[in-house]
Amino acid sequence: MLSYKNIAPFLNTHQNKASRWLSYIGLGIGVLLLLCSVQMYININELLKTKSPKKNGFDFIAVTKTVTDENMVGDHSFSASDLAELKQQKAIEDISPLIGNKFIMKANGGTMLPFETDFFAEAIDNNFLDTLPPSFKWSPGDPTVPIIISSDYFEIYNTLFAPSRDLPQFSEKTMSSIFIQLDCWGANSVKDSYRANIVALSDRINTVLVPKEFLQWANKKYANVDAFNPSRIYIKTKDANNPELLNFLQQKNYHVNKDKTKFGRIKQILQAIVSGLAGFGVLVILLAMVLFSFYLQLMIAKSKENLQLLLTLGYSPKWLSKTVAKKWIPVYIIVILSAVAVTALLHFGFQHFVMKDKEELSPFINWIVIVIAMALLFLSIAVNYRLVKKLLNKL
């Protein structure tokens, strides 16, 4: 079987070794930059995902009416026309009011946790929740009320409340096993007690949430209130930083929680930086390929007479192209696989030493990175083959 080995002595591959090695190194660096950037982009997404208000490409932000010195006394709730006006805005996809308790609520830890506190609860449409466990529902007669609290509140409990009162701290996993007692006070000092436990944490809704069915029923039972205007609403928008949206809200003197939008901004900036690095990586790869093509052109030019004679003696141009091009495949494989290995190592180091094994990050590189590496490998082999074929056809 004829192979490259047979024609190797007739090809002038020894010249210009420096430019050849430079192009290998350049390719390696470029691929490494690109793969690391892609992995970092994914890491940023993963790390900032749970705290980010965005879900499926939308931002969810809380809006209230601004309380100023002038309007302190008075109603700060959203009327039906306010809500309708909001719904009409192009930048707003959907809105959901937060309804709050209109009666007195207290919570205590029972025998498990020695504390008692005034309590409050709100409810919102289920489709606005970022986490909705199947246990988050209630029907009249259920003795247990499931609660979703914001992860900020949970952190406040663990870092401030618990230590100051010698109460135990909980992890996210163990919190659902803790039951507290919820007392609801109605007219004539009528009190009902319910068991309650935290079934999930929310990064989006900054409050204590109970199922809407419970709160509506409880408001009716304990405060004799049916429907009422909400003081706080959540809006769903494609971009919380949309200037049109922010202008409208400012005009109406509505207050927006800027924290959540800032977070999205940080993520955007980080991802932009990383994208820039990826772009630079692509540039380096292109330069390396150009350098390598110069090497190939030089090699074939220097071997021109021999190659022409081989063709004269009956060697097939197709076979020559394929055989010469194939010689470089092992090099490409080694360079790109090495870049993948180094990326995997760097990512593992980042996940383990910098992020201290944070759960959100897998210690292994993402499959997208591997797919990109394979695509690059395929591309470089294909481009190389076409170049060799073109050069040989000119002979």
Binding site: N6, I7, P9, F10, T312, G314, Y315, P317, K318, N393
Partner: protein, 213 residues
């Protein structure tokens, strides 16, 4: 297989050379098994004819056909197939790889489509008196030795036609005879045709036909 020439005339040749020729502007057919001698004085276009037949050049009018296929329509791949299997050649300018050894020169042709086992190269080299040169660089061999190398190279493949362009110009009488014998034996084994173009008739080449170019 058959090579046929129909009214071929090189684009560069003078009128008077055409009228006197039995090949230019004529219809000629070469069949396998035939031994054809072409007598071609200097300047008559002998090397051009051989190059036309081998497909190296296309600057002629008229048609050359391998069987019924005009070679003007052949691409590089088609020629490669014919040169591997059906047509072998000894160039007047030899066209060896000067930076490689004699053995490498012979092997690079043999490996493409071997007709003989490896050891036959040494046997042929011995027969033509160049067995001591096998591991030497081609460039260190004399012109006569290089001619013998070119001849042995042409015999490493199967062929229906062996094109020879002044193959003995730098060989002495004894070596000429040995080389001719070798080539006739190899052609007979393959039932192939020899087309020998030279300045004058070669007396020990028993041609079936002689044509004046």
């Amino acid at each position: 297989m058959q090579i046929s020439l129909q009214q071929i005339v090189p684009t560069f040749i003078e009128e008077e050379k055409i009228s006197q020729s039995q090949i230019w502007n004529s219809n000629v057919v070469f069949n396998i098994g035939e031994k054809i001698q072409i007598i071609a004085p200097s300047g008559s276009g002998k090397t051009s004819l051989i190059h036309f037949l081998y497909g190296l050049r296309k600057d002629f009018n008229g048609t050359i056909q391998y069987d019924n296929n005009s070679i003007k329509n052949f691409d590089a791949e088609a020629f490669a197939i014919y040169r591997q299997q059906y047509i072998s050649i000894v160039f007047q300018d030899l066209r060896l790889f000067t930076e490689q050894t004699v053995l490498q020169n012979l092997d690079i042709k043999r490996q493409l489509n071997p007709y003989h086992a490896e050891g036959k190269i040494e046997a042929m080299a011995k027969r033509l008196g160049i067995e001591n040169k096998l591991n030497k660089l081609c460039s260190t061999c004399s012109y006569g030795e290089q001619q013998r190398i070119a001849i042995i190279r042409a015999l490493q493949q199967p062929f229906n036609f062996l094109l020879l362009d002044e193959p003995f110009s730098h060989l002495d009488e004894s070596n000429r005879k040995k080389a001719m014998e070798l080539m006739e034996e190899e052609s007979a084994v393959r039932n192939a045709s020899i087309i020998l173009a030279d300045l004058k008739a070669i007396e020990y080449f028993k041609a079936d036909r002689t044509l004046d170019l």
